[in-house]
Chain length 497, copies 2
């Protein structure tokens, strides 16, 4: 397919003429050569390429090239093309004023000055390590065959995949809205904007904010705060202790002082603590928003991973259409599908679409169509039912194992759903040293200092229980318990010494 590169030369018709003439080509190339713009030995555009580009006849181009060869500016080599003369032809160029030395080599531009956004990189699972740091569900529990079937089906629909809707594929938005209405939320298809995971939902909302001052729980999902910061947002942290009621009075004082535009909140299965708000706490958050005039972006990532198809109440259900609600299918279906969404209302949706459009123009239709098909056929609900039985068993087993294996002084949250809980350990345990020792024994945990703003007021780690089967989970927690016991023992010994 590809041929040797050639120089690109711009030709313009002279005077008021519309097409380039042979004379224009000769004049331009002589001038370019004289100015030293045509390195000797470099290839000129093939006749057919100029013919096509300039919309002129092959003969016109050939006549110009013939003349330039005769003048010694160009040389023609059988089958290879036409080249800038290297030998005697240089004389004409020199006469026309060109320096004898060839043109300088192209300069190297500076490297871009980029700054790396500080983030822990999600390492894909490798080898046989026991991953307690994964918020993903065990891939063996995911309906790969059903998804493949839906892809095959939508590939047959003619014309479906030509263009894309910046808001998202309409039948998928309809299916999402229907699901949310069944959970007490007032949402129609026009309120839904699909996104690449829920991450792009956060991105689109933040970049559309009139003023980027964003409150969020402390700790919170570190990719959210990294995202907001990367967009220049000023963050307001609201202290959260997963073992205590929300300190709503304290939050009220902080919010009244900082006056954020938006509160980004994970109300159920909070990442990284696994905490869920009580209904009363949700009402309290709505009252704060109303009194202190900030908007709400609720991230409900852990829903659909709850026991027995139940669901937790949401700000969107309690507080109405002003609440922006984000969720995704990443955790409950194949992570690699990368489909999320945000639900707004008729005032917010146009700005969110514009923000999404400017970031990616639109997302792949085919994936959205396949997911719509999966929902439409009821496969997703069937999958959730089957998966939840497995996840419930893992969660129950995890609590039993923690009871059995954790040394005294270690506490944990009981989320009852989602993929993770928070394990709080005594301050005497060095978390990084613990993680390093565990890694030696093939158990992966990930302390999350980046989830905190300022000095962490908790001392522990998130524990994912949805990724490992019960047997591997038991092995991992046994090793974790032993290493925690050893760390506490040596800390106690150190304190005694």
């Amino acid at each position: 397919m590809t041929r040797a590169p050639y120089l690109h030369v711009r030709f313009q018709p002279s005077g008021s003429r519309r097409r380039v003439s042979a004379d224009d080509i000769v004049r331009t190339l002589v001038a370019e050569a004289a100015a030293g713009h045509l390195p000797p030995g470099s290839r000129l555009p093939p006749v057919r390429a100029l013919e096509h580009e300039l919309g002129i006849s092959k003969n016109t181009v050939q006549a110009a090239y013939d003349e330039l060869c005769a003048r010694g500016v160009l040389v023609s080599r059988e089958r290879d093309g036409v080249f800038v003369a290297d030998g005697p032809g240089r004389r004409e160029m020199a006469r026309a004023g060109a320096a004898e030395a060839g043109p300088p080599a192209p300069k190297t531009p500076p490297a871009a000055r980029l700054r790396e956004i500080p983030l822990r990189q999600n390492r894909p699972p490798t080898g046989d390590a026991l991953r307690l740091d994964m918020v993903f569900v065990d891939p063996d529990l995911l309906p790969r065959e059903r998804i493949a079937e839906c892809f095959r089906s939508v590939l047959h629909v003619p014309g479906l995949h030509r263009f894309y809707d910046a808001q998202g594929y309409a039948p998928l938005r309809e299916a999402i809205a229907r699901r949310l209405r069944a959970r007490g939320m007032d949402v129609v298809a026009d309120d839904v904007v699909t996104t690449t995971g829920s991450q792009q939902a956060l991105d689109a909302v933040c970049r559309a904010l009139a003023t980027r001052r964003v409150a969020c729980e402390n700790p919170v999902y570190p990719y959210a705060t990294a995202l907001f910061r990367s967009l220049g947002a000023e963050l307001v942290g609201l202290r959260l202790d997963p073992f205590e009621p929300l300190p709503l009075e304290e939050w009220g004082r902080v919010l009244a002082a900082a006056r954020p535009e938006l509160f980004y909140t994970i109300t159920s299965f909070h990442n990284p603590t696994g905490r869920s708000c009580s209904s009363h706490e949700l009402t309290g958050i709505l009252a704060l928003a109303s009194d202190l005039d900030f908007a709400l972006l609720e991230d409900d990532w852990g829903s659909d991973m709850l026991s027995q198809g139940e669901y937790r109440p949401s700000l969107r259900a309690f507080g109405g259409r002003n609440v922006l609600y984000a969720n995704s299918f990443t955790k409950k279906l194949l992570p690699s599908l990368r489909i999320g969404f945000v639900a707004g209302d008729e005032r917010s949706v146009p700005a969110i679409i514009a923000a999404k459009r400017v970031a990616t123009l639109g997302n792949p239709t085919l994936i959205e169509a396949a997911l719509a098909e999966l929902l439409e056929r009821g496969y997703y609900d069937t999958h959730l039912t089957a998966m939840q039985q497995a996840l419930d068993a893992r969660y129950t087993r995890c609590l039993e194992l923690l009871d059995e294996r954790m040394p005294a002084g270690v506490r944990w949250t009981t989320p009852g759903g989602g993929p993770l809980l928070w394990l709080e350990v005594p301050r005497s345990v060095d978390l990084d040293a613990l993680a390093a020792r565990l890694a030696e024994r093939q158990v992966v945990v990930a302390p999350t200092p980046l989830a905190f703003q300022g000095e962490p007021h908790l001392h522990g780690l998130p524990l994912g229980y949805a990724f490992l089967d019960s047997e591997r989970l038991a092995r991992a927690l046994e090793i974790l318990g032993a290493e925690l016991g050893r760390a506490l023992g040596s800390a106690a010994a150190g304190a005694l010494a």
Copy 2:
């Protein structure tokens, strides 16, 4: 699947105990009811849900609920569940200090204050209108069946679609690097980051910039400037006239004064003018970058749409690995695939990946795998060869038709590739009025005031010739010529009057 919603109540074990006891449940619910947090008639969590969440036995929960029913705080309704008492049970709550009136209704939070990014929305083609405003290729020329075949093939690969690589699917990055090397660019797979269209490539680079001061041509692709502005970038416009050589001296003065970090440039098939830089102009841009210390982001969107498989020289090929190079498969394959990429080097790639990760975490693997398959099988090259014949014919025909149909005083660029050219018309023509008259005759053109920074120094519109077949293109250009003639005639008449 879904059941009636119930209140979510948070229970914590008392003292140093690890599990919630029946007594904890009773105590918590009495206190919550007393504080007015349990609206009468609302549903309590089902026994099995609490059993699961708290990791306690069903009997513990049942014992607590029985006690609360006996006290009149709760009532149990056969098959429906357990509810907050509405009648006599309120007495206990009143005794405990609750107000007789129920709790206040949840407050409505304020709507988010969002600002809409100003953009012309790409309207998908509808009906039978003759679209001269489309930068897309005619969907009939796209290899839908081949793409479907590749999807079917990759759906068989086990384990492929579980996770995603934030940098992009490795075999696709390898295939892209191979193609770029064949065009004289020094690129390896590790240099490539895949993106959602080339739009996300621009997004990732801009958000990773240490200082967001970006130079770009004026006019330029308006989604790029809208994107950069939405990220708070300061823009520096460099005047470009598609009928003239680049004013590199003027650019040098502007750049020396403004000192941007980055120059975003479309060196070939410039959008919206169709202009391509000569090899000499590329060398001049590299010299400016080197002298004035700014980095380069080259957007090569129009490549692969060039006559006969030829390609234009690029800054990346001339200037080396410091040049950031963006491109996409959107225009040459199904637009709805949304796959683009940016090539950097070992210094820039980590920051670009971090910026992509924070925006979307990663993109759908399946689409990238299907595209890798398409490249691997040689289908893409076969498709390009076939498509280019059709596009070349349309381009040639378009130039002929313009010659025939355009009134005197109208000029156009001759890009020789890509999907559009620039039609420059006399200043006396009112472009919006022209677009409105054409729309009445079912011809769609789109003046691009948003492509300019400040007052436009050109007076015309981009014309897409790749979307309509020759017959429809002829009809559209005939009508355009007639309406332009009429506009010029009446302008002349107005001048005479």
